[in-house]
Symmetry: C2
Subunit: 337 residues, 2 copies
């Protein structure tokens, strides 16, 4: 949405191809309640961004549309799309890929946390939906929890599953949700088991300190290794690395802070355009730290979490940069006849 | 440089006002050796960026030039500048502020680390200069060090001095330098004393794991509270929070991982344009997480570390986004007569 708005604001035509029936991507599809770090209402923020490209004379929105194939090159791409069972060709001078991420499936490969066994083991996404509905309860019995914990780095910083990277946002989102749980259920104790608390930049004072001090969230440097049922509660086993002792704590809800993986769309579209992916399947940008949006194929740019873990600021900044570069590419390739 | 290149690539004229006699900003002025995380030669990277806007028909470079004052508004700014003792007025539709940061002065307010007392207590900037010169030695006697440590979060995450924020890049830069020290002085032991190791995104596998595993850098979760002279070496006192014991270790060089503060230029230029600053003196962007470059004054945008701690990717992305928005602003305000 930000890239399309940017291109339109430069006076150029843009076609936004969306596989869903509406705008909003993962924040909409996964039912985000409030954005991190400013806790702005997600629906409101999405509506504002969508509004800027709806009924915009420079923007054509194509919903329920899949990208099927691509040919051509910088200045002259021919992109085959499928909409309502009908194929058509979009001609475009340049392409911006904004296919985002998918949340790590905590049942994949390792199942030590029992996500698919225990009703009260949930993910950040599940928690966000309950917070959005204003009804944060134990899925197993509908009761308000007395004790809740977050387990960080599920699917991130994990070599066994091949995701060595840090997903950047989970520490912030967990802390934001911890604050919200304390607001919704004031007598519920909230713990966050972390390896490193990665509150970079302003998140330190925007989220971390309020969570610690105002909302009395308990941060424990510790590693959870197993979750088992004990009576109708959950026993989290692990090691408290600060107190240097084995840890066994009873919880009513355990929230797994699942990280980011490339979406199916990211991998498929990258392959269609012949764009190089990194070993995780995210789109690889060229030029090291000094070029965040150019891909291995001239005229094809990528923005947001299509290139790897990204927070909202990363996404809007890279989308703006990609809009600029897409138009610069178009202008460069538009050699007068 | 990235913002100017972006504006020029969109076919618009841009004037780059630089107070120094040449391009490159802090990386050039502070003598950076290699960029983080990809360890690309900084001079080479700066030369490439400078090359793109040198002899570019759309770019006018003004060196040794100070911004003195500004009047007008979006679409019609009149910016008074001083060059070679001569004042002139630049007319511009929009303005991008890229005035960056300054390194925290470890002698300011608290002097517990003895930066100005002990020759062998240095900063990341001092270390970078020695690494660039290929001569990493003890400043006190010119000898190669046998044991070196980094102390993280100097001037960051520190309420006593009023900098609650995390400076984002110091963990990465320290780890990069730790690798370089191990390359330059293979028999030197290198320790990093940290609170949280903030290696977000790909830095985890790009810097952190190589530092740990290939280069055997010792990461110690600990807090250094005091540095005193012992014989001709430095005694670092503190607490090892992982081992839960008081810590007293002898070092030949102590490197303070100084954080970011707003540059004088950022504060002055913000005031000249009437742009709102946050409580730290960085430029405040509006729109929360969804707008990284717009300021409180329409037509004035900010990019890079002028708005707060930023890594290279943040800087180039926000510069690209600012270029796009500066031109969108110009187009919007350029109402046909």
């Amino acid at each position: 949405m930000e890239a399309a708005k940017g291109i339109a604001s430069l006076g150029y035509k843009v076609i936004l191809v969306e596989k869903r029936e509406r705008l909003g991507g993962t924040p909409d599809a996964s039912g985000y309640a409030a954005l991190t770090p400013d806790m702005r209402n997600a629906d409101e923020a999405i509506a504002e961004m969508a509004g800027a490209i709806t009924n915009n004379p420079n923007v054509t929105l194509m919903f329920n549309t899949m990208v099927m194939d691509s040919s051509g090159s910088e200045g002259d791409f021919k992109v085959k799309v499928l909409q309502d069972g009908k194929e058509s060709i979009i001609e475009a001078a340049s392409v911006v890929v904004c296919t985002g991420f998918t949340h790590f499936d905590p049942g994949r490969e390792t199942q030590k946390y029992g996500y698919y066994e225990h009703d009260d083991v949930i993910t950040l996404v599940d928690a966000e939906k309950m917070l959005k509905a204003g009804n944060f309860v134990r899925p197993s019995n509908g009761e308000k929890p007395k004790q809740v914990c977050f387990i960080q780095c599920v699917g991130s910083r994990d070599r066994q599953i091949g995701n060595e990277y840090c997903s950047k946002v989970c520490c912030g989102i967990s802390s934001k949700q911890a604050i919200e749980i304390r607001q919704h259920v004031p007598d519920c104790k909230v713990f966050i088991f972390y390896i490193d608390m990665r509150m970079y930049g302003y998140w330190e004072n925007e989220i971390y300190w309020p969570a610690q001090e105002k909302y009395k969230v308990n941060y424990v440097k510790g590693i959870a290794t197993e979750i088992v049922k004990k009576g109708d509660r959950l026993l989290v086993k692990g090691e408290d690395t600060t107190m240097r002792r084995p840890m066994e704590v009873l919880m009513d809800i355990v929230i797994l802070a699942v990280g980011m993986e490339p979406s199916e769309g990211t991998k498929k579209v990258a392959d269609m355009f012949g764009v190089k992916k990194n070993k995780y399947g995210f789109i690889e940008t060229i030029g090291g730290a000094l070029n965040t949006v150019s891909t291995s194929v001239p005229g094809v740019f990528a923005a947001g979490a299509a290139t790897g873990p990204a927070d909202l600021e990363d996404c809007v900044s890279s989308a703006g940069a990609a809009a600029m570069k897409a138009i610069a590419s178009l202008r460069k390739s538009a050699v007068p006849a």
